[in-house]
């Protein structure tokens, strides 16, 4: 199993998409870091971003972990579907014909990648924020002072989103449908469902991830409005874990019998 995991790690390190995603994380989070530092002084920009002019708007904007989670989902999907897309699944399964083990190794590697993306996000986004504040170029918002409290939850959510991506990939196998359905669900379907049926929304991946942030999220400081209905943090972990594991198992079960042609 260790060898299989090492091989899967090698595979994601040796394709450019992994590094592009890491680059996207660094660029977007530093971009937001700069916004935080400068936007409050630029009235026009602030009004453009948040017309309502909420005094705490930047806390909502600056949630770089949302990016980490979304990209962790993408990495998870790519780890599985890339094999079908480039037909490397044949050599992979020739070397290790026990398909459940291959999926298990991919889950481990996806978790590692999710965590790495989360750490990169924290370092690049928050690091830049601190740097700007320290050099007197910005104001320290709630984000910078309290972020340490929610960091574990956000990192955990990135890990779990990567597992969820592997599950989606294992089930759908085809890259574009898996990416589109995963992203559409998180970005479009989930906010609608959450808005209309908050009790159902709690169990959706994004809201479950929010639950991981614990009291900080409930207080409304992160991700907007204080009216969030969320599961307890451990409930969020379980729900996200279930997405990853249930989808992966379902995917593996169908893969176990499906034909690789």
């Amino acid at each position: 199993m260790t060898r299989l995991i090492r091989s899967e790690l090698l595979k994601i390190r040796t394709v450019w998409s992994t590094w592009v995603l890491a680059g996207v994380v660094v660029l977007t989070t530093s971009g937001f870091g700069l916004l935080i530092a400068y936007a409050p002084r630029r009235r026009a920009l602030r009004d453009l971003l948040v017309p309502s002019g909420s005094p705490r708007w930047f806390d909502g904007v600056f949630r770089p972990m949302g990016i980490a989670q979304t990209l962790a989902l993408v990495v998870g999907v790519l780890i599985v579907t890339g094999e079908y897309r480039h037909k490397t699944v044949t050599p992979t399964l020739l070397a290790e014909p026990r398909r459940g083990r291959v999926t298990a190794a991919k889950l481990v590697v996806a978790a590692t990648a999710g965590l790495t993306l989360g750490v990169i996000t924290a370092v690049s986004g928050l690091g830049l924020g601190y740097l700007l504040v320290a050099t007197g170029h910005g104001t320290a918002g709630i984000m910078l002072t309290e972020y340490r409290l929610v960091l574990p939850g956000d990192l955990g959510a990135a890990v779990l989103f990567a597992l969820y991506g592997v599950g989606l990939g294992a089930l759908l196998k085809s890259q574009v449908p898996a990416l589109v359905s995963g992203l559409t669900f998180t970005i479009v379907v989930e906010p609608i469902v959450t808005g209309v049926l908050p009790t159902v929304g709690e169990y959706m991946p994004g809201q479950a991830a929010m639950a991981l942030l614990g009291s900080a999220a409930r207080s409304g400081g992160f991700g907007g409005g204080g009216s969030l209905q969320l599961l307890p943090w451990w409930g969020g972990v379980l729900v996200l874990l279930a997405y990853g594991v249930v989808l992966s198992v379902a995917g593996s079960l169908t893969t176990l019998r499906s034909d690789v042609t």
């Binding site: 060898r3 090698l10 040796t14 037909k87 050599p91 020739l94 070397a95 014909p97 034909d259």
Partner: protein, 316 residues
């Protein structure tokens, strides 16, 4: 003794398509076995079932008596290259092999060894996206050889290879088999395969059409023919007629029907006729293949139709 490769009552249905139909055959060590049949005959599907990639609808496909998935060390047992077996375009040749070597606990030195063997040593650190079809075939062959397997399964390996590559592969397979190992190689081009294989398993419409040694298959040839290229056509026709061998001129060749090179050769030698080229049975081989496979199309997507040039002199 269990055969290294054994297919028994193997059947595969894809929806309405019956791709493989109650197929049984075994493959012996120490010989190159050609797995032949026109496009769509079910060759790739059969090989994929042998390798645990496609689940049979019925029957069994066994390696050393067990399903591929139960092999303790698959990479050291079977090396396989399948059609549509892929290489990630962004990955270098070396990293493509490292992924498999890592899983199978194979040392990095072996990677350089197999890359050298297939003539890719200089391209080891180039991304495979820039490789030609032939180079990707070689890389996949290198991947199959990583574990130093005793069984080699190659699906249409000649595709994309240049003539030198094909000649090299032929020698390689012959050498591999001569060490007592097992070679199963599929092809839809009989003429090409006939120069490499000892045994044949011929498939048509998913069913076994013929099995045996290439020689025995040739014996069955319905029409034996010897073709002679000579500047002395007119005289050769006379001489052969006198010897009771009816012959006809076909272009710049003389075709002797129902004859063997062994019979025609001495007659020409006795009459001191200059011969530039003599081939035998090439036509009958193609005809036989055609008959066995019930006249299905032999168009290859990349190459010319099967009725290509006759094999070189001295080869049946």
């Amino acid at each position: 003794m269990t055969a290294p490769l054994e297919v028994r009552g193997l059947t595969k249905r894809f929806g309405h398509v019956l791709a493989v139909d109650d197929l049984s055959f075994t493959v012996e060590p120490g010989r190159v076995t050609g797995f032949l049949g026109p496009n769509g005959a079910g060759k790739t599907t059969t090989l994929r079932m042998l390798l645990g990639l496609v689940t049979p609808t019925q029957g069994s496909a066994l390696v050393n008596g067990v399903p591929y998935r139960s092999l303790p060390d698959p990479t050291a047992t079977v090396g396989a290259v399948l059609e549509a077996s892929g290489v990630h375009p962004a990955r270098t040749a070396r990293n493509h092999l490292r992924a498999v070597a890592t899983v199978s606990g194979i040392g990095m030195a072996r990677i350089d060894e197999v890359l050298g063997l297939v003539g890719l040593a200089d391209a080891a650190d180039r991304a495979a996206g820039g490789f030609s079809l032939g180079m990707r075939q070689r890389l996949e062959l290198a991947r199959a050889l990583l574990g130093d397997p005793v069984i080699l399964i190659l699906d249409e390996p000649a595709n994309g290879l240049d003539p030198q590559g094909i000649a090299w592969l032929r020698d390689f397979l012959r050498h591999f088999a001569s060490e007592g190992k097992v070679v199963l190689v599929s092809s839809h081009l009989l003429a090409e395969a006939s120069q490499t294989v000892d045994d044949v398993v011929i498939l048509s419409g998913g069913r076994l059409a013929a099995q045996g040694t290439l020689e025995s298959l040739l014996e069955q040839g319905s029409k034996k023919e010897v073709l002679v290229r000579t500047p002395d056509r007119a005289r050769l026709l006379e001489v052969l007629a006198a010897a009771g061998m009816p012959a006809t001129a076909e272009g710049d060749l003389v075709a002797v029907a129902d004859a063997t090179a062994e019979a025609v050769g001495p007659v020409m030698a006795a009459e001191r006729i200059v011969v530039h080229e003599m081939t035998s049975s090439a036509e009958s081989l193609e005809d036989l293949f055609f008959t066995l496979t019930e006249g299905q199309e032999f168009q290859s997507p990349t190459g010319p139709p099967l009725a290509g040039p006759p094999p070189p002199e001295g080869q049946p």
